[in-house]
């Protein structure tokens, strides 16, 4: 009664007062990123394993960006072809002088090594391809291929999964059967087959294996996003949007997908490493890039004929192996942390 008898309005007065519940302080970072991204961001940068992972990824990104500064190409028109030091078969050990087709000296060479002569820092592989050059420029190939494959598989997966779950019924049934058909084949074998078909058509290069991996890779995302959309589709905010008269496309793109996409994104982030492995595996099997292309899988494949004497020529496999493993490890560590942050139920999500 006393409130009603007051002459001044209620609202302005209470607005200036301290609220009963204490509000959590929101930092500038959190305001900038929004709650969801902030949580992810904080999780990634407080977990020691994922800090290692992020640093590894950052390292590789820097190597990819500054490849031309780290080791300038011998032939600027075609930097991805590894320069060959002659045509001998036996690999040269690390530290051997680089006699033919040596690249121009980078700025860091003289101060660091004290000479102005190139040598093979990590040795050469069978056929005299320089391993260091292949690894540095191969980083570009790996990141490009990994991001491209994941990006496109993600896009296809999201489109198919979203359509299937949003419309449900027979659309869902058909699309899911379609997905199952692609999943019925062993991933690497199917990708190998399709690359073997595409290579004669398109010529050797990064494209046949990339396309093959995309064609047989999207299903996992489609299934994941479908499940997540199914649970979100019935939420009130979707009904609200429908009541307001939003079109199907708008509801899907503006309301449902942004709310359902996170688990799929996490899976995808881990898959960059996995796809780079798959790509390298196809190269290793002799399908994919032309001989001498800077690509980690191919560098390792040069070791295939040297297995009985590998303990003598260890550098042809150890260095490429370390680089590939660190790259994949980086993505896996970050992905692992992301998984814990995003959704405890996602732990142990199916991967190839």
């Amino acid at each position: 009664m006393s409130v009603a008898s007051q002459s001044t309005p209620v609202l302005p007065e209470t607005a200036g007062m301290e609220p009963d519940i204490e509000l959590r302080k929101i930092g500038r970072m959190e305001r900038l990123l929004g709650p969801e991204f902030y949580r992810i961001f904080r999780g990634v940068f407080t977990n020691p394993l994922s800090i290692i992972g992020t640093s590894l990824i950052l390292f590789f990104v820097l190597v990819a960006i500054f490849a031309a500064q780290i080791i300038p190409p011998s032939s600027p028109t075609n930097p991805y072809m590894i320069p060959r030091d002659g045509f001998g078969t036996a690999p040269l050990p690390p530290g051997t002088a680089w006699l033919r087709q040596a690249p121009p000296l980078p700025f860091w060479w003289k101060p660091l090594t004290g000479t102005d002569k190139w040598f093979h820092i990590l040795g050469t592989t069978s056929g005299q391809w320089d391993i260091f050059y292949g690894l540095v420029w191969g980083t570009r190939t790996a990141i490009f291929v990994g991001v491209l494959i994941v990006g496109l598989t993600l896009l296809i997966g999201i489109i198919i999964g979203a359509i299937a779950s949003f419309y449900g019924g027979w659309v869902d049934e058909i699309l899911m059967r379609f997905t199952e058909i692609f999943m019925a084949f062993p991933f690497i074998m199917a990708a190998l087959t399709l690359s073997a078909i595409l290579t004669p058509i398109m010529g050797k290069g990064i494209w046949p294996p990339t396309i093959a991996l995309i064609v047989f890779g999207w299903m996992y995302y489609a299934r994941l996003i479908r499940g997540d959309i199914l649970s979100i589709r019935e939420r009130d905010f979707v009904t609200a949007a429908r009541v307001v008269g939003a079109s199907d496309g708008r509801i899907l793109v503006r309301h449902i997908i942004p709310n359902a996409i996170y688990p799929t994104l996490v899976l995808a982030s881990m898959d960059i490493g996995t796809y780079v492995i798959s790509f390298a595996a196809l190269s290793f099997l002799g399908i994919g890039t032309e001989v001498g292309y800077a690509d980690w899988g191919q560098l390792i494949s040069f070791a295939r004929n040297w297995i009985p004497v590998l303990s003598q020529y260890w550098w042809i496999v150890i260095y490429p192996a370390i680089v590939l493993i660190l790259f994949v490890l980086g993505w896996n560590l970050v992905g692992d942390a992301l998984r814990d942050i995003m959704d405890p139920k996602l732990r142990g999500q199916i991967r190839r």
Partner: protein, 350 residues
């Protein structure tokens, strides 16, 4: 449960049909010259002869007619016999191996079966044991070991692992040989019942052959198994962790059930249900893994045959192998789903 089975069985022919369509469409990406391997052994040098073959075997026919012939076989105008037809088991000719694909398949199939079977056993037994133990002793040393294993398992590419293993145990220490079997066994006469060397050797009571085969299997089996094993371990662990948090487990503990029984009788059976589902995917992963593993170890199986054929763009062969692998996976998935229905009371009684 009956309706579940009926639905499940009805889906299978649809999936199989879809698989043949997909394989056939990939085949259509080839030119008619390359497709001629479905019916004739060699590519004729003469363009005129090639044209004749394309017309004779209808390689430029409308697509549905070609599909039908690819499926059921067609009449050879020269001999009057039926040739081709994957349903008849005739996949055409492998030009890279210069023999019919079906023959190559029969030759290489047992090695892969042997390899995969030996790989599955440690995956399931050790994977489940370690996963369950890691979950029960969460954050203790065994859990940390399991975690390291699974991260390493994910991050080590199969071909790198295989080469390193060969480098250490074959090239350096000379403990294990490469290949599928030693040369002297190839010269030995013994009855081959199953073409799985270890089993045949035992049936013949030839333990020397058995141990030789086993020695050849150790490295490829390890290489093939460790990735799937890491995944298995991880899935078992997280599923077990989730089950141990369930209220009925707390109830069991509260009423005084010994911890051993809580784990073994109450939690584990339920925790393993998703693991069973995952084992279908493991079969798929293994059949993909053999391509790389067999190639590295020069293990003469289906996978290395597929890799060799692919490297020489012998698409008719690789497609046949992919189709066969796909059919195996479909069957494995069916078995897994039936098993799942029996294990999961929600399905069994639903």
């Amino acid at each position: 449960m009956v309706s579940y089975f009926i639905r499940r069985l009805l889906i299978m022919p649809i999936t199989l049909f879809g698989m043949t369509i997909l394989i056939f469409l990939m085949l259509q990406l080839l030119g008619p010259e390359a497709r001629s391997a479905l019916y004739v052994r060699d590519i004729p040098k003469n363009a005129e002869v090639m044209r004749g073959i394309i017309i004779k075997y209808g390689l430029n026919d409308p697509i549905y007619i070609q599909y039908w012939h690819w499926l059921m076989g067609r009449n050879d105008p020269d001999t009057g016999k039926t040739i081709g037809g994957i349903l008849r088991g005739d996949f055409g000719f492998s030009r890279s191996a210069s023999r019919p694909v079906a023959e190559l398949l029969a030759l290489r199939f047992p090695a892969t079966v042997e390899l995969t079977l030996y790989a599955i056993i440690p995956i399931i037994i050790i994977g489940i044991w370690m996963g369950v133990t890691a979950a029960v002793h969460q954050n203790e040393w065994i859990d940390q070991v399991a975690r390291v294993f699974s991260i390493v398992g994910y991050s080590f590419p199969v071909f790198v692992f295989g080469i390193l293993v060969l480098m250490i145990f074959y090239a350096q220490l000379d403990l294990f040989p490469a290949g599928r079997i030693s040369d002297w066994v190839m010269m030995t006469n013994y009855t081959q019942y199953t073409h799985l060397i270890t089993i045949d050797a035992l049936l013949n009571l030839r333990f020397d052959i058995f141990f030789d085969a086993l020695r050849h299997l150790v490295l490829p089996v390890t290489t093939l198994a460790y990735t799937s094993w890491a995944a298995f371990l991880r899935i078992t662990r997280s599923s077990m962790l989730e089950t141990l948090r369930q209220e009925y487990v707390t109830t069991a503990r509260a009423k005084g059930v010994p911890e051993k029984d809580v784990v073994n009788k109450h939690a584990r059976p339920n925790a393993l249900i998703p693991v069973v589902t995952y084992s279908g995917l493991t079969v798929a992963a293994l059949l993909g893994g053999v391509v790389i593993t067999e190639t590295i170890f020069n293990f003469q199986g289906m996978g290395s045959a597929a890799a060799e054929a692919a490297a020489r763009y012998d698409v008719v062969t690789v497609l046949a192998f992919t189709l066969v692998a796909g059919v195996i996976i479909i069957i494995a998935n069916l078995v897994v789903d039936i098993l799942y229905a029996f294990l999961d009371p929600r399905v069994r009684l639903g």
